[in-house]
């Protein structure tokens, strides 16, 4: 689902409510028919969230960043994480501290984290920010593959999502 709308209409707030960081003032967020408060662990294991910031530790390498975040969700080997970084186009940066990476590279590392989590539900907040043309194309391909395999994705983006499959669009207004 593609969420769009003008600045300040609550797109990020909506994503934060959906991932459980914020409580909804009205209504409830449900996963498999149950409120997420009751199935928090299962729900969190099934979701991958990327906020405005790539959420990387500046003093850890790209690989370590992935190891200590993905590793909390599932057992994963470094070789697999390296392969995922490679797939996201930042394989050469695996052993560089995140502070020396460019904004676009950090964004790609964050996408590698989403991939490596093997989550069913992707919640991406403006994932195209700082990505170059190749990066945007790669991200679209990832979304295509993910939804093709039955995955769900909620994407906040100001640009159009050119995917092969039909996508739902939700416009928020103030």
């Amino acid at each position: 689902m593609h969420i769009w709308g003008a600045n300040g209409t609550g797109k990020t707030t909506l994503l934060r409510v959906v991932c459980g960081l914020l409580r909804p003032e009205e209504g409830r967020v449900a996963w498999s028919g149950q409120s997420i408060d009751g199935v928090r662990t299962e729900y969190q294991a099934a979701l991958a969230y990327v906020s405005h910031e790539p959420a990387l530790k500046a003093n850890l390498t790209a690989l370590e960043n992935l190891r200590y975040s993905v590793g909390l969700k599932r057992r994963v080997r470094d070789a697999e994480l390296r392969a995922t970084l490679e797939h996201s186009g930042v394989g050469a940066c695996a052993d560089l501290p995140a502070r020396v990476l460019s904004a676009g590279q950090r964004r790609r590392v964050a996408m590698a984290r989403v991939l490596a989590m093997r989550a069913l539900l992707w919640l991406l907040d403006e994932p195209f920010t700082n990505l170059d043309a190749a990066g945007s194309a790669l991200l679209l391909r990832m979304l295509e593959e993910h939804t093709g395999q039955g995955g769900l994705a909620l994407v906040v983006a100001h640009r159009t999502l050119d995917l092969q499959r039909p996508i739902r669009r939700m416009e928020l207004s103030a």
């Binding site: 991932c19 969230y49 405005h52 530790k57 003093n59 200590y68 975040s69 909390l72 969700k73 599932r74």
Partner: protein, 226 residues
């Protein structure tokens, strides 16, 4: 395959220690503070050994308390600022597991270093060598207790721009019993008396805070994350 709480705790501990040792300045600053504050007292008071020895436990403990507070402010704040705290909160691990691992790492990096350095400071304050073991044991228990108490304060103040002062206002009153019994254990050891009672009390405080603080701190974090 899901990741168990122990494994998650080990991973976070590894992450924190790795980060701690990559930024040695953050590790050394509280230690230098401890060292400098304690050396100021002999200069400001008088170099009279008997007077120093009488005041040494108090000086040592207050300095240890203040220097531990210095590093507590960043316990969750750094992670909150770069967005990794949200990732940790969504990591399918209970928040208290994260709090326990981070607090233990904080103690291993700041508290243990302070305990190791305390004999040096104690020598400057004319504390006799036979009291070192008690002093170090009491400081070890005290700094651990303070890390637990501090985790609650750090959780509450994580969203504030200048949370440091508020953190001190929250944590210092709670740390008073620890200060009283910690200083008294050291004092008794210096006087050649049995410090066991005070040490037991410190140990009890440590167990009490370690069992309740993770729950309180994770509740505080949950509120501030919203």
């Amino acid at each position: 395959m899901n990741v168990g709480a122990w494994r998650a705790m080990r991973l976070i501990l590894q992450r924190e220690l790795c980060l701690g040792f990559r930024r040695p300045d953050q590790l050394l600053q509280p230690l230098m503070f401890f060292l400098i504050v304690t050396t100021l007292f002999p200069l400001a008071l008088s170099p009279q050994l008997s007077l120093l020895r009488d005041m040494a436990p108090g000086i040592l403990w207050v300095a240890a308390l203040l220097s531990s507070l210095l590093s507590l402010e960043t316990l969750f704040k750094v992670d909150a600022d770069d967005g990794t705290l949200e990732q940790l909160a969504l990591s399918a691990q209970p928040l208290y597991v994260i709090v326990i691992a981070k607090t233990m790492a904080h103690w291993l990096v700041s508290g243990v270093a302070l305990v190791v350095m305390s004999p040096l400071v104690a020598t400057a304050l004319a504390i006799p060598v036979h009291a070192f073991a008690t002093m170090m044991a009491s400081l070890a228990l005290g700094t651990l207790t303070l890390s637990w108490l501090g985790s609650i304060g750090a959780g509450l103040t994580v969203g504030l721009r200048r949370g440091g002062v508020l953190l001190s206002l929250i944590v210092l009153p709670l740390a008073m019993p620890m200060l009283i019994f910690g200083a008294s254990a050291t004092d008794r050891a210096i006087g050649g008396e049995n410090p066991a009672g005070a040490l037991y009390f410190l140990a009890a405080l440590c167990v009490f805070t370690s069992s309740l603080a993770p729950l309180a701190a994770s509740a505080a974090l949950r509120i501030t994350l919203e």
